[in-house]
Amino acid sequence: MPARRFPLRLLIAVTGIVVALALYGAFLYAPTEKTMGTIQRIFYFHVSAGMIGLVAFLAVFAGCVAYLAKRDARWDRFAEATAEVGLLFTTIVLITGPIWAKPVWGIWWTWDARLTSTLVLWFIYWAYLLIRAYVARPSRRAALSSVVGIIGALDVPIVYFSIRWWRTQHPAPVIGGGEGSGLAPPMFHAFLAAIVAYALLFVVLGTLRARLAEAEEGVDALARAVREATEDDAARGAPARERSSS
Protein backbone atom coordinates (compact mmCIF):
# COMPACT_ATOMS: atom_id res chain seq x y z
CA MET A 1 0.00 0.00 0.00
CA PRO A 2 1.39 3.36 -0.95
CA ALA A 3 1.39 5.22 2.35
CA ARG A 4 1.25 9.01 2.14
CA ARG A 5 4.66 9.65 3.67
CA PHE A 6 6.44 7.01 1.64
CA PRO A 7 10.02 8.31 1.10
CA LEU A 8 9.85 7.76 -2.64
CA ARG A 9 12.68 10.07 -3.63
CA LEU A 10 15.12 8.37 -1.28
CA LEU A 11 13.99 5.00 -2.60
CA ILE A 12 14.49 6.09 -6.21
CA ALA A 13 18.01 7.25 -5.37
CA VAL A 14 18.83 3.95 -3.66
CA THR A 15 17.33 2.02 -6.58
CA GLY A 16 19.48 3.97 -9.03
CA ILE A 17 22.63 3.06 -7.11
CA VAL A 18 21.67 -0.61 -6.80
CA VAL A 19 20.77 -0.84 -10.51
CA ALA A 20 24.18 0.63 -11.36
CA LEU A 21 25.83 -1.89 -9.04
CA ALA A 22 23.86 -4.74 -10.59
CA LEU A 23 24.90 -3.65 -14.09
CA TYR A 24 28.52 -3.48 -12.95
CA GLY A 25 28.14 -6.91 -11.36
CA ALA A 26 26.59 -8.52 -14.41
CA PHE A 27 28.86 -7.01 -17.05
CA LEU A 28 32.23 -6.45 -15.35
CA TYR A 29 32.50 -8.04 -11.92
CA ALA A 30 31.18 -11.51 -12.74
CA PRO A 31 33.65 -13.66 -14.74
CA THR A 32 32.76 -14.85 -18.22
CA GLU A 33 31.24 -18.31 -18.13
CA LYS A 34 33.49 -20.98 -19.70
CA THR A 35 31.19 -22.86 -22.06
CA MET A 36 28.46 -20.33 -22.81
CA GLY A 37 30.62 -17.23 -22.97
CA THR A 38 29.36 -13.68 -22.67
CA ILE A 39 25.75 -14.57 -23.46
CA GLN A 40 25.50 -16.22 -20.03
CA ARG A 41 25.46 -12.71 -18.50
CA ILE A 42 21.85 -12.34 -19.58
CA PHE A 43 21.05 -14.87 -16.88
CA TYR A 44 21.44 -12.17 -14.18
CA PHE A 45 18.61 -10.16 -15.71
CA HIS A 46 16.51 -13.04 -16.93
CA VAL A 47 16.26 -15.12 -13.76
CA SER A 48 15.89 -12.23 -11.35
CA ALA A 49 13.16 -10.59 -13.45
CA GLY A 50 11.39 -13.95 -13.49
CA MET A 51 11.54 -14.29 -9.73
CA ILE A 52 10.17 -10.81 -9.10
CA GLY A 53 7.53 -11.41 -11.80
CA LEU A 54 6.27 -14.38 -9.80
CA VAL A 55 6.25 -12.39 -6.56
CA ALA A 56 4.23 -9.73 -8.37
CA PHE A 57 1.59 -12.32 -9.15
CA LEU A 58 1.21 -13.07 -5.43
CA ALA A 59 0.87 -9.32 -4.83
CA VAL A 60 -1.89 -9.05 -7.47
CA PHE A 61 -3.72 -11.94 -5.82
CA ALA A 62 -3.41 -10.33 -2.38
CA GLY A 63 -4.60 -6.99 -3.76
CA CYS A 64 -7.66 -8.57 -5.41
CA VAL A 65 -8.67 -10.48 -2.28
CA ALA A 66 -8.13 -7.43 -0.06
CA TYR A 67 -10.16 -5.25 -2.41
CA LEU A 68 -13.20 -7.55 -2.37
CA ALA A 69 -12.93 -7.91 1.41
CA LYS A 70 -12.38 -4.24 2.29
CA ARG A 71 -13.72 -2.31 -0.73
CA ASP A 72 -10.83 0.10 -0.45
CA ALA A 73 -9.83 1.58 -3.83
CA ARG A 74 -6.22 1.65 -2.69
CA TRP A 75 -6.09 -2.16 -2.87
CA ASP A 76 -7.44 -2.06 -6.39
CA ARG A 77 -4.71 0.38 -7.41
CA PHE A 78 -2.18 -1.84 -5.66
CA ALA A 79 -3.35 -4.85 -7.72
CA GLU A 80 -3.32 -2.84 -10.94
CA ALA A 81 0.16 -1.44 -10.35
CA THR A 82 1.67 -4.79 -9.37
CA ALA A 83 0.02 -6.49 -12.36
CA GLU A 84 1.44 -3.98 -14.82
CA VAL A 85 4.95 -4.15 -13.43
CA GLY A 86 4.62 -7.94 -13.17
CA LEU A 87 3.64 -8.11 -16.83
CA LEU A 88 6.61 -5.88 -17.73
CA PHE A 89 9.05 -8.12 -15.86
CA THR A 90 7.54 -11.30 -17.28
CA THR A 91 7.88 -9.76 -20.75
CA ILE A 92 11.57 -9.12 -20.00
CA VAL A 93 11.87 -12.81 -19.10
CA LEU A 94 10.22 -13.89 -22.34
CA ILE A 95 12.45 -11.59 -24.43
CA THR A 96 15.78 -12.31 -22.73
CA GLY A 97 15.09 -16.09 -22.66
CA PRO A 98 15.14 -16.65 -26.42
CA ILE A 99 18.11 -14.26 -26.86
CA TRP A 100 20.03 -16.53 -24.51
CA ALA A 101 18.61 -19.78 -25.88
CA LYS A 102 19.46 -19.22 -29.54
CA PRO A 103 23.27 -19.35 -29.20
CA VAL A 104 23.26 -21.82 -26.30
CA TRP A 105 20.57 -24.32 -27.29
CA GLY A 106 20.52 -23.48 -30.99
CA ILE A 107 16.80 -22.67 -30.87
CA TRP A 108 14.82 -19.60 -29.85
CA TRP A 109 12.13 -21.49 -28.05
CA THR A 110 11.41 -24.93 -26.66
CA TRP A 111 8.26 -26.10 -24.88
CA ASP A 112 10.17 -26.76 -21.69
CA ALA A 113 8.21 -26.70 -18.44
CA ARG A 114 9.47 -23.38 -17.15
CA LEU A 115 9.17 -21.57 -20.48
CA THR A 116 5.67 -22.82 -21.05
CA SER A 117 4.48 -21.96 -17.53
CA THR A 118 5.93 -18.46 -17.86
CA LEU A 119 4.16 -17.96 -21.16
CA VAL A 120 0.82 -19.03 -19.67
CA LEU A 121 1.43 -16.75 -16.68
CA TRP A 122 2.04 -13.88 -19.11
CA PHE A 123 -1.32 -14.52 -20.79
CA ILE A 124 -3.11 -14.59 -17.43
CA TYR A 125 -1.59 -11.18 -16.62
CA TRP A 126 -3.01 -9.99 -19.93
CA ALA A 127 -6.47 -11.32 -19.09
CA TYR A 128 -6.44 -9.33 -15.84
CA LEU A 129 -5.27 -6.11 -17.52
CA LEU A 130 -7.60 -6.45 -20.53
CA ILE A 131 -10.75 -6.67 -18.40
CA ARG A 132 -9.51 -3.53 -16.64
CA ALA A 133 -9.02 -1.77 -19.96
CA TYR A 134 -12.58 -2.36 -21.13
CA VAL A 135 -14.63 -1.51 -18.04
CA ALA A 136 -14.98 2.23 -17.49
CA ARG A 137 -16.69 2.61 -14.12
CA PRO A 138 -14.06 2.38 -11.36
CA SER A 139 -16.07 0.33 -8.85
CA ARG A 140 -17.18 -2.17 -11.51
CA ARG A 141 -13.69 -2.34 -12.95
CA ALA A 142 -12.24 -3.07 -9.53
CA ALA A 143 -14.76 -5.80 -8.67
CA LEU A 144 -14.68 -7.55 -12.06
CA SER A 145 -10.91 -7.47 -12.38
CA SER A 146 -10.54 -8.75 -8.83
CA VAL A 147 -12.68 -11.77 -9.75
CA VAL A 148 -10.46 -12.43 -12.81
CA GLY A 149 -7.31 -11.86 -10.76
CA ILE A 150 -8.34 -14.29 -8.04
CA ILE A 151 -9.41 -17.08 -10.39
CA GLY A 152 -6.26 -16.47 -12.46
CA ALA A 153 -4.02 -16.73 -9.40
CA LEU A 154 -5.76 -19.91 -8.20
CA ASP A 155 -5.07 -21.30 -11.65
CA VAL A 156 -1.31 -20.71 -11.43
CA PRO A 157 -0.46 -23.79 -9.29
CA ILE A 158 -2.64 -25.94 -11.56
CA VAL A 159 -0.80 -24.55 -14.59
CA TYR A 160 2.52 -25.26 -12.92
CA PHE A 161 1.74 -28.89 -12.03
CA SER A 162 0.01 -29.76 -15.29
CA ILE A 163 2.88 -28.43 -17.38
CA ARG A 164 5.47 -30.14 -15.22
CA TRP A 165 3.68 -33.48 -15.65
CA TRP A 166 3.34 -32.84 -19.36
CA ARG A 167 7.11 -32.36 -19.60
CA THR A 168 8.03 -35.40 -17.54
CA GLN A 169 5.99 -37.49 -19.95
CA HIS A 170 7.60 -36.10 -23.10
CA PRO A 171 11.20 -35.29 -22.13
CA ALA A 172 12.46 -32.07 -23.70
CA PRO A 173 15.88 -31.86 -25.38
CA VAL A 174 18.42 -32.23 -22.60
CA ILE A 175 19.45 -28.85 -21.28
CA GLY A 176 23.07 -28.87 -20.17
CA GLY A 177 23.60 -28.43 -16.48
CA GLY A 178 20.71 -26.40 -15.22
CA GLU A 179 21.29 -22.73 -14.71
CA GLY A 180 21.50 -22.57 -10.93
CA SER A 181 24.04 -25.36 -10.54
CA GLY A 182 27.45 -24.42 -9.26
CA LEU A 183 27.53 -20.63 -9.48
CA ALA A 184 30.98 -19.24 -8.75
CA PRO A 185 30.89 -16.77 -5.81
CA PRO A 186 31.32 -13.59 -7.95
CA MET A 187 28.50 -14.82 -10.19
CA PHE A 188 26.36 -15.39 -7.16
CA HIS A 189 27.05 -11.87 -5.88
CA ALA A 190 26.12 -10.39 -9.26
CA PHE A 191 22.95 -12.49 -9.25
CA LEU A 192 22.00 -11.28 -5.76
CA ALA A 193 22.58 -7.66 -6.81
CA ALA A 194 20.32 -8.17 -9.82
CA ILE A 195 17.54 -9.63 -7.66
CA VAL A 196 17.73 -6.70 -5.24
CA ALA A 197 17.78 -4.24 -8.16
CA TYR A 198 14.66 -5.78 -9.71
CA ALA A 199 12.91 -5.92 -6.32
CA LEU A 200 13.59 -2.21 -5.74
CA LEU A 201 12.56 -1.34 -9.29
CA PHE A 202 9.35 -3.27 -8.71
CA VAL A 203 8.56 -1.22 -5.60
CA VAL A 204 9.46 2.11 -7.25
CA LEU A 205 7.57 1.48 -10.50
CA GLY A 206 4.62 0.00 -8.62
CA THR A 207 4.39 2.99 -6.29
CA LEU A 208 4.59 5.45 -9.17
CA ARG A 209 1.94 3.51 -11.09
CA ALA A 210 -0.39 3.41 -8.09
CA ARG A 211 0.01 7.17 -7.59
CA LEU A 212 -0.72 7.74 -11.27
CA ALA A 213 -3.90 5.66 -10.94
CA GLU A 214 -4.92 7.72 -7.92
CA ALA A 215 -4.40 10.92 -9.90
CA GLU A 216 -6.39 9.52 -12.83
CA GLU A 217 -9.29 8.70 -10.53
CA GLY A 218 -9.14 12.22 -9.11
CA VAL A 219 -9.32 13.72 -12.60
CA ASP A 220 -12.23 11.43 -13.52
CA ALA A 221 -14.11 12.41 -10.38
CA LEU A 222 -13.56 16.11 -11.16
CA ALA A 223 -14.72 15.66 -14.75
CA ARG A 224 -17.83 13.88 -13.50
CA ALA A 225 -18.58 16.65 -11.00
CA VAL A 226 -18.20 19.32 -13.70
CA ARG A 227 -20.47 17.40 -16.07
CA GLU A 228 -23.14 16.99 -13.40
CA ALA A 229 -22.94 20.65 -12.48
CA THR A 230 -23.37 21.79 -16.10
CA GLU A 231 -26.26 19.38 -16.56
CA ASP A 232 -27.93 20.80 -13.45
CA ASP A 233 -27.52 24.31 -14.85
CA ALA A 234 -28.96 23.23 -18.18
CA ALA A 235 -31.94 21.66 -16.41
CA ARG A 236 -32.56 24.92 -14.56
CA GLY A 237 -32.48 26.84 -17.85
CA ALA A 238 -29.16 28.56 -17.25
CA PRO A 239 -27.02 29.15 -20.35
CA ALA A 240 -25.04 26.00 -20.99
CA ARG A 241 -21.33 26.28 -20.30
CA GLU A 242 -18.76 25.04 -22.69
CA ARG A 243 -18.45 21.29 -22.48
CA SER A 244 -15.34 19.21 -22.81
CA SER A 245 -15.10 17.20 -25.98
CA SER A 246 -14.97 13.88 -24.13
Binding site: L68, V120, F123, I124, W126, A127, L130, I131, Y134, V135, A136, R140, A143, L144, S146, V147, V148, I150, I151, G152, L154, D155, I158, V159, F161, S162, I163, W165, W166, Q169
Partner: protein
Protein backbone atom coordinates in the same frame (compact mmCIF):
# COMPACT_ATOMS: atom_id res chain seq x y z
CA UNK B 1 -32.53 -27.60 -4.19
CA UNK B 2 -35.59 -25.82 -5.54
CA UNK B 3 -33.95 -22.56 -6.57
CA UNK B 4 -31.15 -24.29 -8.45
CA UNK B 5 -33.60 -26.45 -10.36
CA UNK B 6 -35.76 -23.41 -11.14
CA UNK B 7 -32.77 -21.68 -12.77
CA UNK B 8 -31.76 -24.75 -14.75
CA UNK B 9 -35.35 -25.34 -15.89
CA UNK B 10 -35.65 -21.71 -16.98
CA UNK B 11 -32.48 -21.87 -19.06
CA UNK B 12 -33.41 -25.20 -20.65
CA UNK B 13 -36.95 -24.01 -21.42
CA UNK B 14 -35.57 -20.87 -23.05
CA UNK B 15 -33.23 -22.89 -25.22
CA UNK B 16 -35.96 -25.36 -26.20
CA UNK B 17 -38.06 -22.45 -27.42
CA UNK B 18 -35.42 -20.28 -29.07
CA UNK B 19 -32.81 -22.92 -30.06
CA UNK B 20 -30.04 -20.33 -30.32
CA UNK B 21 -27.21 -22.02 -28.47
CA UNK B 22 -26.98 -25.78 -29.07
CA UNK B 23 -27.28 -25.65 -32.89
CA UNK B 24 -24.48 -23.09 -33.08
CA UNK B 25 -22.16 -25.17 -30.88
CA UNK B 26 -23.03 -28.30 -32.81
CA UNK B 27 -22.45 -26.98 -36.31
CA UNK B 28 -19.34 -25.02 -35.42
CA UNK B 29 -17.91 -28.01 -33.54
CA UNK B 30 -18.28 -30.15 -36.65
CA UNK B 31 -16.74 -27.40 -38.75
CA UNK B 32 -13.65 -27.39 -36.54
CA UNK B 33 -13.30 -31.15 -37.11
CA UNK B 34 -13.40 -30.57 -40.86
CA UNK B 35 -11.01 -27.59 -40.81
CA UNK B 36 -8.47 -29.55 -38.76
CA UNK B 37 -8.60 -32.34 -41.31
CA UNK B 38 -7.75 -29.87 -44.07
CA UNK B 39 -5.02 -28.33 -41.94
CA UNK B 40 -3.23 -31.61 -41.19
CA UNK B 41 -4.46 -34.10 -43.81
CA UNK B 42 -3.59 -36.91 -41.42
CA UNK B 43 -2.76 -40.43 -42.53
CA UNK B 44 -4.27 -43.30 -40.56
CA UNK B 45 -1.44 -43.26 -37.97
CA UNK B 46 -1.18 -39.49 -37.75
CA UNK B 47 -4.89 -39.33 -37.23
CA UNK B 48 -4.51 -41.27 -33.99
CA UNK B 49 -1.86 -38.79 -32.86
CA UNK B 50 -3.84 -35.68 -33.75
CA UNK B 51 -7.28 -36.86 -32.71
CA UNK B 52 -7.24 -35.81 -29.02
CA UNK B 53 -6.17 -32.28 -29.86
CA UNK B 54 -8.71 -32.00 -32.66
CA UNK B 55 -11.53 -33.16 -30.39
CA UNK B 56 -10.68 -30.67 -27.65
CA UNK B 57 -10.13 -27.83 -30.08
CA UNK B 58 -13.63 -28.49 -31.37
CA UNK B 59 -15.07 -28.59 -27.85
CA UNK B 60 -13.24 -25.43 -26.76
CA UNK B 61 -13.92 -23.27 -29.82
CA UNK B 62 -17.55 -24.24 -30.22
CA UNK B 63 -18.08 -24.13 -26.46
CA UNK B 64 -16.85 -20.54 -26.34
CA UNK B 65 -19.28 -19.61 -29.05
CA UNK B 66 -22.15 -21.14 -27.08
CA UNK B 67 -21.12 -19.47 -23.83
CA UNK B 68 -20.94 -16.10 -25.59
CA UNK B 69 -24.39 -16.53 -27.01
CA UNK B 70 -25.84 -17.65 -23.66
CA UNK B 71 -24.40 -14.59 -21.97
CA UNK B 72 -25.58 -12.26 -24.75
CA UNK B 73 -29.10 -13.63 -24.32
CA UNK B 74 -28.92 -12.68 -20.64
CA UNK B 75 -28.12 -9.11 -21.58
CA UNK B 76 -30.91 -8.85 -24.16
CA UNK B 77 -33.96 -7.17 -22.66
CA UNK B 78 -31.94 -7.06 -19.43
CA UNK B 79 -33.00 -10.62 -18.62
CA UNK B 80 -30.12 -10.91 -16.18
CA UNK B 81 -31.58 -8.07 -14.08
CA UNK B 82 -34.75 -10.09 -13.62
CA UNK B 83 -32.72 -13.05 -12.44
CA UNK B 84 -30.67 -10.89 -10.11
CA UNK B 85 -33.88 -9.47 -8.63
CA UNK B 86 -35.10 -12.99 -7.81
CA UNK B 87 -34.67 -13.95 -4.14
CA UNK B 88 -31.94 -16.44 -4.95
CA UNK B 89 -28.39 -16.68 -3.70
CA UNK B 90 -26.00 -15.42 -6.42
CA UNK B 91 -23.87 -18.51 -6.04
CA UNK B 92 -26.88 -20.71 -6.76
CA UNK B 93 -27.62 -18.59 -9.81
CA UNK B 94 -24.07 -19.30 -11.01
CA UNK B 95 -24.44 -23.04 -10.41
CA UNK B 96 -27.75 -23.08 -12.29
CA UNK B 97 -26.29 -21.26 -15.28
CA UNK B 98 -23.25 -23.51 -15.25
CA UNK B 99 -25.45 -26.61 -15.15
CA UNK B 100 -27.49 -25.32 -18.08
CA UNK B 101 -24.39 -24.46 -20.13
CA UNK B 102 -23.00 -27.90 -19.28
CA UNK B 103 -26.18 -29.45 -20.64
CA UNK B 104 -25.99 -27.36 -23.83
CA UNK B 105 -22.41 -28.32 -24.54
CA UNK B 106 -23.06 -32.00 -23.77
CA UNK B 107 -26.09 -31.99 -26.06
CA UNK B 108 -23.92 -30.69 -28.89
CA UNK B 109 -21.18 -33.20 -28.06
CA UNK B 110 -23.73 -36.00 -28.52
CA UNK B 111 -23.45 -35.21 -32.24
CA UNK B 112 -19.93 -33.78 -32.46
CA UNK B 113 -18.21 -36.72 -30.76
CA UNK B 114 -19.76 -39.45 -32.96
CA UNK B 115 -18.90 -37.32 -36.01
CA UNK B 116 -15.36 -37.10 -34.70
CA UNK B 117 -15.16 -40.90 -34.30
CA UNK B 118 -16.35 -41.32 -37.84
CA UNK B 119 -14.15 -38.72 -39.52
CA UNK B 120 -10.98 -39.70 -37.67
CA UNK B 121 -11.58 -43.48 -37.84
CA UNK B 122 -11.55 -44.19 -34.14
CA UNK B 123 -12.92 -47.38 -32.60
CA UNK B 124 -16.08 -46.23 -30.87
CA UNK B 125 -16.29 -48.81 -28.10
CA UNK B 126 -12.93 -48.01 -26.53
CA UNK B 127 -13.59 -44.31 -26.69
CA UNK B 128 -17.03 -44.37 -25.17
CA UNK B 129 -15.96 -46.28 -22.07
CA UNK B 130 -12.65 -44.54 -21.46
CA UNK B 131 -13.15 -41.05 -22.82
CA UNK B 132 -16.61 -40.42 -21.45
CA UNK B 133 -15.44 -39.52 -17.91
CA UNK B 134 -12.70 -37.30 -19.36
CA UNK B 135 -15.21 -35.64 -21.65
CA UNK B 136 -17.57 -34.99 -18.73
CA UNK B 137 -14.85 -33.64 -16.41
CA UNK B 138 -13.26 -31.53 -19.14
CA UNK B 139 -16.51 -30.07 -20.36
CA UNK B 140 -17.62 -29.31 -16.81
CA UNK B 141 -14.41 -27.42 -16.00
CA UNK B 142 -14.52 -25.49 -19.26
CA UNK B 143 -18.12 -24.48 -18.68
CA UNK B 144 -17.49 -23.68 -14.99
CA UNK B 145 -14.79 -21.15 -15.89
CA UNK B 146 -16.60 -20.05 -19.04
CA UNK B 147 -19.86 -19.19 -17.28
CA UNK B 148 -18.30 -16.76 -14.82
CA UNK B 149 -15.93 -15.24 -17.38
CA UNK B 150 -18.77 -14.78 -19.87
CA UNK B 151 -20.62 -12.84 -17.16
CA UNK B 152 -17.48 -10.77 -16.47
CA UNK B 153 -16.98 -10.10 -20.19
CA UNK B 154 -20.63 -9.10 -20.63
CA UNK B 155 -19.99 -6.21 -18.23
CA UNK B 156 -17.16 -4.85 -20.37
CA UNK B 157 -17.27 -2.51 -23.32
CA UNK B 158 -16.13 -5.41 -25.54
CA UNK B 159 -19.02 -7.63 -24.45
CA UNK B 160 -18.64 -11.30 -25.37
CA UNK B 161 -15.61 -10.63 -27.55
CA UNK B 162 -13.51 -10.50 -24.42
CA UNK B 163 -14.45 -14.04 -23.36
CA UNK B 164 -11.74 -15.93 -25.29
CA UNK B 165 -8.82 -13.89 -23.94
CA UNK B 166 -10.10 -14.32 -20.39
CA UNK B 167 -11.08 -17.98 -20.64
CA UNK B 168 -8.36 -19.62 -22.75
CA UNK B 169 -5.35 -18.74 -20.55
CA UNK B 170 -7.17 -20.00 -17.47
CA UNK B 171 -8.38 -23.13 -19.28
CA UNK B 172 -4.91 -24.11 -20.55
CA UNK B 173 -4.20 -26.64 -17.78
CA UNK B 174 -7.69 -28.09 -18.21
CA UNK B 175 -7.34 -28.46 -21.97
CA UNK B 176 -3.82 -29.83 -21.63
CA UNK B 177 -4.97 -32.46 -19.13
CA UNK B 178 -8.02 -33.33 -21.25
CA UNK B 179 -5.94 -33.75 -24.43
CA UNK B 180 -3.29 -35.84 -22.69
CA UNK B 181 -5.84 -38.05 -20.91
CA UNK B 182 -7.83 -38.57 -24.10
CA UNK B 183 -4.64 -39.49 -25.97
CA UNK B 184 -3.66 -42.05 -23.33
CA UNK B 185 -7.07 -43.70 -23.57
CA UNK B 186 -7.09 -43.69 -27.38
CA UNK B 187 -3.61 -45.19 -27.57
CA UNK B 188 -4.45 -47.64 -24.77
CA UNK B 189 -1.39 -46.74 -22.69
CA UNK B 190 -2.60 -47.90 -19.30
CA UNK B 191 -3.43 -45.88 -16.21
CA UNK B 192 -0.04 -44.79 -14.90
CA UNK B 193 -0.15 -41.23 -16.25
CA UNK B 194 -3.88 -41.21 -16.81
CA UNK B 195 -4.49 -40.88 -13.10
CA UNK B 196 -2.50 -37.65 -12.71
CA UNK B 197 -4.30 -36.07 -15.66
CA UNK B 198 -7.73 -37.02 -14.37
CA UNK B 199 -6.69 -35.62 -11.00
CA UNK B 200 -5.79 -32.29 -12.66
CA UNK B 201 -9.17 -32.22 -14.37
CA UNK B 202 -10.94 -32.89 -11.08
CA UNK B 203 -8.90 -30.32 -9.15
CA UNK B 204 -9.54 -27.68 -11.83
CA UNK B 205 -13.27 -28.42 -11.74
CA UNK B 206 -13.52 -28.23 -7.95
CA UNK B 207 -11.35 -25.10 -7.57
CA UNK B 208 -13.16 -23.26 -10.35
CA UNK B 209 -16.64 -24.23 -9.20
CA UNK B 210 -16.02 -23.31 -5.57
CA UNK B 211 -14.19 -20.04 -6.34
CA UNK B 212 -16.81 -18.95 -8.89
CA UNK B 213 -19.66 -19.89 -6.59
CA UNK B 214 -18.19 -17.57 -3.96
CA UNK B 215 -17.19 -14.79 -6.38
CA UNK B 216 -20.23 -14.62 -8.65
CA UNK B 217 -22.01 -12.05 -6.48
CA UNK B 218 -19.21 -9.57 -7.18
CA UNK B 219 -19.73 -10.01 -10.92
CA UNK B 220 -23.43 -9.21 -10.72
CA UNK B 221 -23.46 -6.39 -8.19
CA UNK B 222 -24.35 -2.96 -9.46
Amino acid sequence: MGALWAIVARELRGELRAREIVPIILVFGMLVLVIMNFAFEPTREESELLAPGVLWAAVAFSGMLGLSRASALDEENAAIDGLVAAPIDRGVLYLGKTAANFAFLLAAECVVVPTFLLLYNIAAARLLVGVLPILLLGTLGFVAAGTIFAAVAANSRMRELLLPVLLVPIAIPLLLAAVEATGIVLRDEGTRYLRSWVRILAVFDVVTLVASYLLFEYVLED
